[in-house]
């Protein structure tokens, strides 16, 4: 399987898991999938069989509702068996609608309430510096999440404490626009003292280049323009699919359209 085929297979697994569970934030999972693909495939240091390995880079999914995207990538890298995805959101499953750090190998933070993950990532980054560790912290937050005041509190903390071991990717899928326009988030984080970059959140080369740029002493914010539901045309940019799974009748038609 080449890279495109593997990603299509991950999308297929995500849709199947959500269909079985009869729920799931598929469109959000798809908007972050390329970001996670690049991070876990080419950037993060980790040992899937030792998820707590001290030297690992930490990853925090601040927008926890995109958990299916994270689960698919973690399973792909061997943190747990792929078959477990089919238990998604079941009563005794480890894999919930938001990730639980006490249940899922590889999950560093229990998120779900928006605005918690980025400040927690900042605390982890600060703690790693205290330990003189060279491990890095990566975080994915969302543009809707950037409505939360705690994101901007974290922006102040990250800049003040010069957390150059912290890199946040902001999944700018414009899901927040219907409520509150957040505008030019790269300019806003730059004004808060972060090193910023803007990328196409589905262009692997651009993501990789931005994420691996050497730090200049500031924390980094990579604003990634993404398409909610990317890879499944009927879902792309369609708010009806924000938290919805295909019915069994719809399933074959949806799967056939995966790109």
């Amino acid at each position: 399987m080449n890279e495109a085929e593997t990603l299509r297979e991950l999308r297929r697994r995500i849709i199947l898991a959500a269909t079985t569970a009869r729920e799931g934030h598929i469109a959000s999972a798809f908007s972050i999938l390329d970001l996670l693909w690049v991070l876990y495939g080419r950037v993060l240091r980790f040992k899937a069989d030792q998820p707590k390995w001290e030297g690992r880079d930490r990853f925090i999914l601040s927008k926890g509702h995109a958990s299916l995207g994270l689960y698919a990538v973690l399973a792909h890298h061997g943190f747990f068996p792929f078959e477990e995805l089919q238990t998604f959101a079941g009563f005794t499953s480890r894999l919930g609608g938001h990730p639980d750090s006490n249940k899922v190998p590889g999950v560093e933070a229990s998120t779900g309430s928006l605005g918690h993950g980025l400040p927690m990532a900042a605390g982890i980054a600060y703690g790693l510096k205290l330990k003189q560790s060279t491990a890095r912290v990566f975080c994915v937050a969302g543009d809707g999440e950037a409505n939360e005041g705690a994101i901007w509190e974290a922006a102040l903390l990250g800049a003040h404490h010069r957390l150059d071991n912290l890199c946040c990717l902001l999944d700018y899928n414009h899901s927040g626009d219907r409520a509150l326009l957040t505008g030019d988030l790269a300019a806003k984080f730059a004004a808060f003292g972060w090193h910023t970059a803007a990328v196409d959140g589905h262009d692997h080369a651009e993501i990789f280049q931005a994420v691996t740029q050497p730090s200049d002493g500031r924390p980094r914010m990579i604003v990634a323009t993404t398409i909610k539901g990317k890879g499944c045309p009927p879902m792309e940019g369609n708010p009806a699919w924000h938290h919805k799974a295909p019915t069994p009748d719809e399933l074959d038609g949806i799967l056939a359209q995966l790109t």
């Binding site: 750090s101 006490n102 560093e108 933070a109 229990s110 779900g112 309430s113 605005g115 918690h116 993950g117 980025l118 400040p119 927690m120 990532a121 900042a122 605390g123 982890i124 980054a125 600060y126 703690g127 790693l128 510096k129 205290l130 330990k131 005041g149 705690a150 509190e153 974290a154 102040l156 903390l157 003040h160």
Partner: protein, 292 residues
């Protein structure tokens, strides 16, 4: 030494002993900890006035093996950052200490924004959150040393201190004296007025400095009939615990605490204690009526 000075002394000592400890000050207590800033660079931080992110940030430190101690005024620790305490520490089961000052109305003259009689009741809503309400500086020192590393713990510091001796132990009520007509469950600093109010009364007095987990066993063992709870926070906060402790017994429960209303008067701490009936005279009147 008042309880805030004791907080400084205890934490400074522990910073030297335990490299896991990291102190985050919400822009208060900065002068008190002036020596610690110099002695423990990076581990004593004036984090600023941003309580929500601070609690999440503290959880990140805890995730990396540190024990964060966050200090601010009660409403800003508990009420402003409540969801962060619930999710980042409670749900994730991470260790950390939240040390508040101000209690119910220590900052009497600053008004209701700085009062926090609801903190204990709120913290009771977080499963696994431990609540410690020391009655004086000595008790704070002992309880903090015993419990700071054992899980998420809220320490409620009040300016008001009792002068009684007696060892305290985390998770255990202290049997101060025994009697037959009623059991007085007294929390934290209220021990002093309770002892003054009941000096000549035939009652059992149980002193609680750990409010969660609540020592149900000691209460069950020392109760027959009437239980009078003296709680210097919202009235009824401990009623559920008393009820759970005594579920097998027929009990009359009387709660003496802070009424659930905005206390819009200013003045001093003692004025509010008197207005709420939590001073010795008020408690004497209330308890005498109950025992009639």
């Amino acid at each position: 030494m008042n309880i805030r000075q004791q907080f400084v002394a205890t934490v400074e000592d522990l910073l030297a002993q335990d490299p896991r400890l990291v102190l985050l000050l919400g822009d208060i207590g900065v002068f008190g900890f002036r020596n610690a800033f110099a002695k423990f660079p990076g581990r004593v931080v004036n984090i600023g006035i941003l309580e929500q992110a601070t609690v999440s940030f503290a959880a990140g430190l805890a995730r990396e093996g540190f024990i964060p101690v966050f200090h601010s005024i009660a409403p800003f620790v508990v009420e402003r950052a409540f969801e962060q305490l619930k999710v980042d520490f409670g749900y994730q089961r991470l260790p950390g200490c939240f040390v508040s000052v101000g209690a119910s109305f220590d900052y009497a003259s600053l008004g209701c924004t700085h009062h926090c009689p609801g903190d204990v009741a709120l913290m009771q809503q977080v499963p696994g959150m431990r609540i410690v309400a020391p009655g004086n500086p000595r008790e704070f020192d002992a309880l903090f040393r015993e419990s700071y590393s054992g899980g998420p713990t809220y320490f409620r510091l009040s300016e008001r201190a009792h002068t009684q001796d007696g060892a305290v132990s985390f998770g255990r009520a202290r049997v101060v004296r025994t009697g037959t007509r009623a059991t007085v469950v007294v929390a934290a600093q209220s021990l002093e007025p309770v002892l003054a109010a009941t000096a000549d009364l035939d009652v059992t007095v149980l002193h609680y400095t750990t409010l969660a987990p609540f020592d149900r066993e000691t209460l069950a063992k020392h109760t027959s009939g009437t239980v009078i709870v003296v709680e210097p926070f919202y009235t009824g906060t401990l009623a559920g615990e008393v009820s759970a402790a005594l579920s097998a017994q027929s009990t009359r429960l009387i709660s003496c605490g802070v009424p659930r209303q905005f206390l819009t008067n200013y003045g001093k701490l003692a004025d509010h204690e008197q207005a709420c009936g939590l001073d010795a005279a008020g408690l004497r009147a209330r308890i005498s009526t109950v025992l009639q």
